[in-house]
Each structure stands twice: as structure tokens, then as C-alpha cells.
């Protein structure tokens, strides 16, 4: 079937996923775009397609041949092209998330086992001790900041532990990564945080050298001594994988858990079910991922001209797959704007779709459960000071919070091994 296509990008919209406006009203904005222009074009950030319909996003995510994840860096200028975010994070490629097949296959299967459910379960007890130690630090005071004291440090410490990095250095990694997630890219704080990546790289390279001499059962040893297709990983690949895992591990579960602690504060009658019924808690957990969609979206690049829904996507076009919009698509989810803790089945794509789907989802779920359990059992009456809640100014990368001060009836330390 052929028909004359109108020239130019149809369905132009004024949209910027990094804007404060979007952060404030993303559910409504996605609803508007999805109903008027399910495949829309915005001129922001050099121009990109905005895909907001669940079925279109899944279709594109399942077609990596046409919709590529690959990022390239111009060695001379450092300028980056393509990749998982719009605009591209400069100077750094994430492996495996910013690669395509055939390289992707080797990279992803190299990492899978360390993040598979069995490996994650083996880390649960340790993670619970980390959470207990973090709460021990504040439990006698009667007040804390949910972000600074728990939901930011716990995933960072757990991720450092997976690597085999000294836990005492967790904030040297977490703090700049946290800033990279929510600060606009022109801000000095963002640029400074991007500069800290060099320090992180050197730190990991130092540890790789040490582990090659004294191997342990940790990720740094595995990165430094493991092989893909019979070959050891070069330094660039080691750092790119570490970067991908750090980015994935450090802010996303923070955002989910923080949002859910706000939810339980506002809906205290839901706490008991979450604590008493493990199956109900698992169903509720997935509904939280759907509703809050911590990673709002991911980018792709068209590898060829392609007709999609009556529009012409051109080779090289950047495309924003709005996972959060998919998770609120009324075609798939009844009453999507309501948190329904009984929602089942729940085919959300909060962890992505297609083969690039989140490597760390089992780890994320386990850390989330640990933190929620710790707060609900040791601080059952916690109250967030709503007047002092500070959200991220942008949800473009992660839908999260800067600060959530809370009070609670003081309790006793449990004596978890200090961090």
C-alpha cells in the first residue's frame, strides 16, 4: 500500500521531557499527547519523536534492528551521538545499554548471572543488615531525611558491595551520580558531577589491578578477570559496564522507594497488608513500579527510514520511548491514574521492554522490599513533613525526590554491624 506522505514531521508538539513543566504534570501531559498525537515530534534538544502509546513503545523496543541503542563518541571532539538519553550524556558510553547486537549479546550474558534472581536472593540478608545499620543511625533521634538517611545510601551501599568497593566510599560515588540524574545539564553542579566520573573510573581501575593480584568473589574481580568470547575485557569496556551498573543501581530504586514511602504516609491503612501478606506485597510492588515509573523513558535512534503509524521516521531520527506514558496508557490499564494495589495481571514496562530490559530489576525489587520493611516495622508511625518535601526539578531521567524530612517515635538500635 502506498500513499503520498506529507513532507516533514507531522504532529509537531511543544514538549521537553527535561522541563520543570513536564515534571509538574507529566501524567496529564502524556495523556494529552497520547490522545492527540501518539507519534509526535518535538524540536527540543535537536528534535526527537515522542512515543506515548504502550503498544507502539513495546513494538519499537522489540525491534532493536530498526531502533538502535548504540552510542558513539567522536574521539576527536568527545561529542556523543545516539544512546539511551536525550540529550546524550557526553564522553561516556554505557555497556551494555548503549550497544546493539552482536556486541550486546556478549556483554549482557556476561553480566546476567550476577543479577539473576538466585544471585540477588543470596545478597538479601546482607542488604537487610545494611538497611538496619542505616536506621540504627537515626532511630533514637525521632527524625530523619528519607532520601539522605535511607533511600539514597542503601542502593548505593548495596551496589558498592556488589562491586567489592569499600563501603565507606559509598557517598563519593552516590552523590555525584545522584546529581547527574536530576540536575539540568547546563548547571555547574551537573558539570562538576560529570567530572567526578573520572575519579570513579580511576578508583575502579585501581581496584581491578588489586583484584587481579588478589581475586575475590566480587564484580570488580569478575570484570577484571572474566572473558567474553575468549577475550578479557579492556579498560574501556570495564569502565563502561561499571558506569552502566552504577547509573542503574544508584538512583532508580531510591526514587521508587521514596515515592512509595510518601504513598504509605498518605495511605497508612495500606501498610498492614504490605507487611502481612507476601503475595499481596509483590503485587503491590509492581503496581508501585507502574504508577511511579522511576525511569521515565529511554531513547533510541532510527537506523533506517521507517513508516510507523502513517508517519515517516527518518534514518538518524532520535526517539523517546516514554515508559511512564506507556504505564499510564488507558488502552492497557483500567483507571491508570489510580494506585490499585490489587491490580493483576499488571503488564507494566517500568523496567523497560525488549531485550535491553533492566538487568537489575530483581536487585531493585529486593532492595526496595528491604527498605520498606525496615521503615514500616521500626518506624510504624513515621510522618513526612509535606511542607518541606523537595521533588526533582526534572523527571527526564528519574522521577525522584531531593529531600523528604520525616519524624517518628524514637526506637532502639538493633545493633546491626555499622557501615
Amino acid at each position: 500500500m502506498t500513499s503520498a506522505r506529507k513532507p516533514g514531521k507531522q504532529c509537531p508538539i511543544s514538549f521537553n521531557h527535561e522541563s520543570a513543566d513536564h515534571a509538574r504534570r507529566w501524567v496529564e501531559e502524556f495523556d494529552e499527547i497520547r490522545s492527540k498525537c501518539p507519534l509526535a515530534w518535538t524540536e527540543s534538544h535537536g528534535g526527537y519523536w515522542v512515543v506515548t502509546r504502550y503498544r507502539d513503545i513495546v513494538e519499537m523496543a522489540q525491534n532493536p534492528h530498526c531502533f538502535s541503542s548504540r552510542k558513539t563518541i567522536d574521539q576527536a571532539t568527545g561529542e556523543s551521538c545516539g544512546g539511551a538519553s536525550i540529550p546524550s550524556v557526553p564522553g561516556q558510553i554505557g555497556i551494555p545499554d548503549e550497544t546493539d547486537s552482536p556486541e550486546w549479546d556478549g556483554y549482557r550474558s556476561f553480566l546476567n548471572r550476577r543479577f539473576a534472581p538466585k544471585a540477588v536472593e543470596e545478597r538479601r540478608a546482607r542488604t537487610e543488615r545494611f538497611a538496619a545499620a542505616l536506621i540504627d543511625r537515626v532511630i533514637e533521634k525521632g527524625h530523619f531525611d528519607i532520601i539522605d538517611d535511607l533511600t539514597n545510601p542503601l542502593p548505593a551501599i548495596a551496589t558498592m558491595d556488589i562491586f567489592g568497593l569499600p563501603l565507606s566510599e559509598w557517598n563519593d560515588f552516590a552523590e555525584p551520580l545522584h546529581r547527574l540524574m536530576y540536575l539540568p545539564k547546563e548547571e555547574p553542579g551537573f558539570i562538576e558531577a560529570a567530572g567526578r566520573l573520572q575519579w570513579m573510573r580511576e578508583r575502579i581501575e585501581e581496584l581491578v589491578i588489586e583484584r587481579r593480584k588478589n581475586p575475590k568473589d566480587d564484580l570488580v574481580t569478575y570484570l577484571g578477570t572474566g572473558e567474553i568470547n575468549g577475550r578479557k575485557l579492556d579498560d574501556e569496556t570495564i569502565w563502561s559496564m561499571a558506569f552502566n551498573i552504577l547509573l542503574g543501581g544508584v538512583d532508580t530504586t531510591t526514587a521508587l522507594t521514596s515515592n512509595v514511602l510518601i504513598y504509605f504516609c498518605r495511605n497508612p491503612d495500606k501498610k498492614k497488608l504490605f507487611l502481612d501478606d507476601k503475595d499481596a506485597a509483590s503485587v503491590a510492588r509492581e503496581e508501585f513500579v507502574r504508577y511511579f515509573s522511576p525511569i521515565h523513558g529511554i531513547a533510541r535512534t532510527a537506523t533506517t527510514d521507517v513508516d510507523f503509524n502513517g508517519q515517516k521516521i527518518e534514518k538518524g531520527d532520535r526517539i523517546y520511548l516514554a515508559y511512564a506514558a506507556a504505564n499510564h496508557d488507558p488502552e492497557v490499564f483500567g483507571d491508570p491514574g489510580t494506585v490499585n494495589l490489587d491490580r493483576f495481571p499488571n503488564r507494566h514496562i517500568g523496567f523497560g521492554a525488549g531485550k535491553h530490559r533492566c538487568l537489575g530489576s530483581f536487585q531493585a525489587r529486593m532492595m526496595f522490599e528491604t527498605m520498606i520493611h525496615e521503615v514500616l516495622t521500626r518506624m510504624p508511625d513515621y510522618q513526612i513533613d509535606e511542607s518541606r518535601m523537595k521533588p526533582y526539578p526534572s523527571v527526564s531521567v528519574v522521577n525522584g525526590w531531593i529531600s523528604l524530612p520525616a519524624t517518628f517515635t524514637p526506637g532502639a538500635k538493633v545493633g546491626a554491624p555499622p557501615l
Binding site: V58, A116, V283, P345, R347, R357, F362
Partner: protein
């Protein structure tokens, strides 16, 4: 009823295990779904249909 996982499509959302842990488990290697027994007893047919509907990739197939 028989059930199978299309391995080339499964990416490890694990919704099937939530729906029917009796018949689905997750691989230690990559967290992808594995059918424990392809024969679905009558009392689990509803749960398996939930697994089919709950898979974002459409990786669960019944016959």
C-alpha cells in the same frame, strides 16, 4: 491446556511467576522464565491465562 515460554521473546519481566509460581520459575542464569511442567492442571488454567495477559512481550503461549 499446555503452556510454553517463547524463549526468543522472553526478557525476564517475571510476571508469569507472580501469576503462577506453580508452573513458572526463573532461570539462575538470566532471570528468564522457564516452564516447570507444560501440562496445565485445570485448577491452574486461570492463573496461566493471567500469566499470558501479564506478559508485556507476549512471550507466554497456550495450546
Amino acid at each position: 491446556m499446555k503452556v510454553r515460554v517463547k524463549h526468543e521473546v522472553c526478557v525476564g519481566h517475571a510476571m508469569c511467576v507472580l501469576a503462577c509460581p506453580e508452573l513458572f520459575r526463573l532461570s539462575d542464569e538470566d532471570g528468564h522464565a522457564v516452564v516447570k511442567d507444560e501440562q496445565v492442571p485445570p485448577h491452574l488454567q486461570d492463573a496461566v491465562e493471567q500469566a499470558v495477559r501479564g506478559c508485556p512481550e507476549g512471550a507466554i503461549e497456550t495450546a
